[in-house]
């Protein structure tokens, strides 16, 4: 398949891996920010092509993983109300709240629908004028423009029966929180390519300069990731800390101006809590004041954030890159995709799910 196979070429991959091995003279620890990159790394075994001195740790870029449990509970509670249609992305439906997930709510009779775009939720609202349609809007900067467009169009059309339950988060504040941690061990970042497609990469320049870390805008195919690693270790070996963009076939410095304009119109930056990580200042998006009427928290009552329960799950440490899924004693035994203890085992972008799906686990056959 064109535009895919050329980025999965085995020979080119080995050439890049060799170049990385020749460049590296000492140990380096890099973080790939996005869960999509984590899955590609584990699926294609990219980490196994790298020299032992290069460690890849997995970042917080799994949108459903970092959505606070209270928002899932709120979505389930709203879905249970008479006359409500709750729409969300497919992999959000399996995320466990404190008492089940949205699929379980559907089996109890709630009208819960998986949509492929927030604009589908808009269409559901148009077709069901007597029903309250709620779109559970989660994600990073990647899903924000489409979610913003749904709210924008609803306001333009005066569509009074659509509202958004928003739990949007932003990547750079999370990277800053990871770098500020006293025991941080991340020395370079593979930035999330699709986030940069929307946002551009100018916002990473002060991060790279302040924390003295290289940040390389990286795509999702094996060669993209190996190129990102190569550029990162080349900078580290040379003592440089710059923002580089080898993913230029997709990402421009200033991002997508149209997407940024609609995000600026609909959203404002607010503090957010990240599941497993905690509260991070200015790390999320909420609806702007002009869109307050479309906020499901205004329509159905606000989400009250409790102190996060600490159970056996170590997904918070996995999301911060402090440990690998296989470091968890419950991994693959008490915690599986069928019976997850945490969201990182559920989502298509969760690191634990990637390890479970693609790596051999002795306990699994028992």
């Amino acid at each position: 398949m064109r535009f895919r196979d050329e980025y999965r070429d085995g020979r080119a991959a080995r050439t890049l891996a060799d170049a990385i091995a020749r460049t590296v003279t000492r140990p380096w620890t890099l973080m790939e920010v996005c869960g999509g990159q984590t899955h590609a790394i584990v699926r294609f075994g990219i980490d196994r092509l790298l020299p032992p001195d290069v460690s890849l740790v997995h970042g917080p870029g799994c949108p459903v993983c970092v959505t606070p449990v209270e928002y899932v509970d709120k979505a389930i509670a709203i879905a249970g109300r008479a006359g409500v249609i709750l729409c969300s992305y497919g992999d959000m439906l399996r995320v466990p709240g404190s008492g089940g997930d949205l699929l379980a709510a559907r089996s109890r009779g709630a009208d819960v629908r998986a949509v492929y775009s927030p604009l589908d939720a808009l269409e559901v609202a148009r077709r069901n004028p007597r029903r309250e349609v709620v779109f559970f809007a989660v994600g990073f900067e990647t899903t924000a423009p489409a979610n913003a467009m749904a709210a924008y169009r609803a306001r333009q059309e005066g569509l009074g029966n659509l509202s958004l339950l928003v739990s949007h988060v932003l990547v750079p504040p999370a990277m800053r929180a990871i770098l500020d941690a006293p025991d941080n061990r991340i020395q370079g970042f593979l930035a999330a390519g699709h986030v940069c497609t929307v946002m551009g990469y100018e916002e990473y320049l002060p991060l790279a300069a302040h924390y003295r870390v290289p940040i390389v805008v990286t795509g999702f195919e094996p060669l993209d990731i190996l190129e990102g690693v190569y550029r990162c270790v080349r900078q580290l070996e040379a003592g440089r800390a710059e923002v580089e963009n080898p993913y230029s076939r997709v990402v421009r410095r200033a991002g997508n101006r149209t997407a940024l304009a609609v995000m600026g119109e609909v959203f404002r930056v607010i503090p957010r809590r990240w599941r497993g990580i905690g509260d991070i200042a200015d790390s999320g998006l909420g609806l702007a004041h002009a869109y307050a009427a479309f906020d499901a928290e205004n329509r159905f009552g606000p989400v009250a954030l409790d102190r996060e329960a600490t159970g056996e799950c170590i997904s918070g440490r996995v999301l911060k890159g402090e440990c690998k899924p296989t470091d968890c004693p419950a991994f693959g035994t008490r915690c599986t995709p069928e019976h997850p203890l945490g969201v990182t085992m559920v989502s298509a972008e969760g690191a634990c799910a990637a390890y479970y799906r693609y790596r051999s686990i002795p306990a699994r056959s028992s």
């Binding site: 398949m1 895919r4 999965r8 070429d9 085995g10 991959a13 080995r14 999509g36 584990v42 699926r43 294609f44 075994g45 990219i46 196994r48 092509l49 949108p63 459903v64 992305y89 497919g90 992999d91 959000m92 439906l93 399996r94 699929l103 998986a114 492929y116 989660v138 994600g139 990073f140 990647t142 899903t143 699709h194 094996p222 599986t336 995709p337 069928e338 989502s347 298509a348 972008e349 479970y356 799906r357 693609y358 790596r359 051999s360 686990i361 056959s365």
Partner: protein
């Protein structure tokens, strides 16, 4: 005058109700008799049905295979087929995977009140055509009607009986290290066709289901004298589930090569877009065959003469290794584990 008009005039129901299924059609009275006589029996066209008896009387020589399956799909009609073709091909294929020549099918129809008769007519016509193409007879059946909201338009159950032609038992127990794993063609068409039709994705190319009868291709293996150890048609859960099920049941390890697995470009593009793994996407006209490595070429030659298996290829082999483990060598030469789908296949967020 169209056949729809014929039917409406003949049906003793209130005006305006003649173009949809009514509860009376399942009531055991005249309305039901007319529905069966005017619409279903002509489509199935079998002498056994014309005897209007409580069951069919069949002749069989030697060992027989017997299977049943129920069919629910939304939408009822999709590119490449409909629920009727699925219901015939699916059961015919299950019989073929037992090493049997499909002979007889029963048909149970559960109709939802309000189902357009035009849809029912299309579906039963598809079933008749699929049965003819598969060399199988639809010899007995049943029709029920349930209230609106109690079914999703139309559910079908088919059960089938086939004449076993395999000289030795076919199944996971026969799988041995060194067996070649043959895949009959490209994967993922049915699942993506259904998803595209259901969700209204505006893909530039229409993806058609691979729904097809596989008995002729399978019987060709036996006719060619190939020692067939195991057969499995790929349905829900896709190639991944079929291989894991066989590896677990056989207590063997299987290794496959991702580069050898054919996936059509437009199917692959749709999977990439939605974050789905083609190995886990449903099929309705593909199967895997386990044959001794030395007989793989002969098996491929026999399979490729039959349309649904014209793209047959060897994708891997049975290995010594942990029981139940299926590994896949990826594009970069690194092996990964292949696992069954967990729960429902859901598209990713971004």
């Amino acid at each position: 005058m169209s056949r729809d008009d014929d039917f409406r005039l003949a049906c003793p129901l209130p005006a305006g109700a003649g173009d949809t299924v009514q509860l009376a059609h399942g009531g055991g009275g005249r309305a039901m008799a007319r529905l069966i006589d005017a619409l279903i029996r002509p489509a199935f066209a079998d002498a056994e049905l014309d005897r209007r008896h409580d069951g069919a009387l069949l002749a069989l020589d030697g060992p027989a295979a017997f299977t049943t399956d129920s069919y629910v799909v939304r939408p009822l009609v999709f590119p490449g087929g409909d629920i009727g073709t699925l219901a015939v091909h699916g059961t015919v294929n299950d019989l073929a995977m037992c090493g049997a020549r499909p002979r007889y099918l029963s048909v149970g129809l559960i109709l939802e009140e309000g189902l357009p008769l035009a849809v029912l007519r299309r579906v039963v016509a598809s079933m008749g055509a699929a049965a003819t193409a598969s060399g199988v007879r639809l010899v007995t059946g049943d029709t029920k009607v349930v209230e609106r909201g109690k079914a999703d338009g139309l559910f079908i159950n088919t059960a089938g009986i086939g004449q076993v032609v395999a000289p030795a038992p076919v199944g996971p127990a026969g799988v041995e290290p060194g067996d070649a794993v043959i895949l009959s063609g490209d994967i993922g068409r049915h699942g993506m066709a259904i998803m595209a039709a259901r969700e209204g994705f505006g893909f530039e190319t229409v993806i058609e289901s691979d729904c097809a009868p596989l008995a002729e291709a399978v019987l060709a293996l036996f006719a060619a004298g190939v020692t067939v150890h195991c057969l499995r048609d790929l349905t829900r859960g896709g190639l991944a589930s079929a291989l894991v099920e066989i590896a677990e049941a056989a207590g063997r390890a299987i290794g496959i090569d991702e580069a050898a697995i054919p996936v059509a470009d437009h199917v692959l593009a749709a999977c990439e877009l939605l974050g789905l793994d083609p190995l886990q996407v449903a099929n309705e006209g593909r199967f895997v065959a386990f044959v001794p490595g030395a007989e793989a070429e002969r098996a491929l030659g026999a399979l490729r003469c039959h349309a649904p298996a014209s793209g047959a290829v060897v994708i891997g082999a049975v290995k010594e290794g942990p029981a139940g483990e299926v590994t896949c060598r990826g594009a970069l030469g690194v092996e990964r584990i292949i696992d069954m789908l967990s729960g429902e296949q859901l598209p990713r967020i971004c």
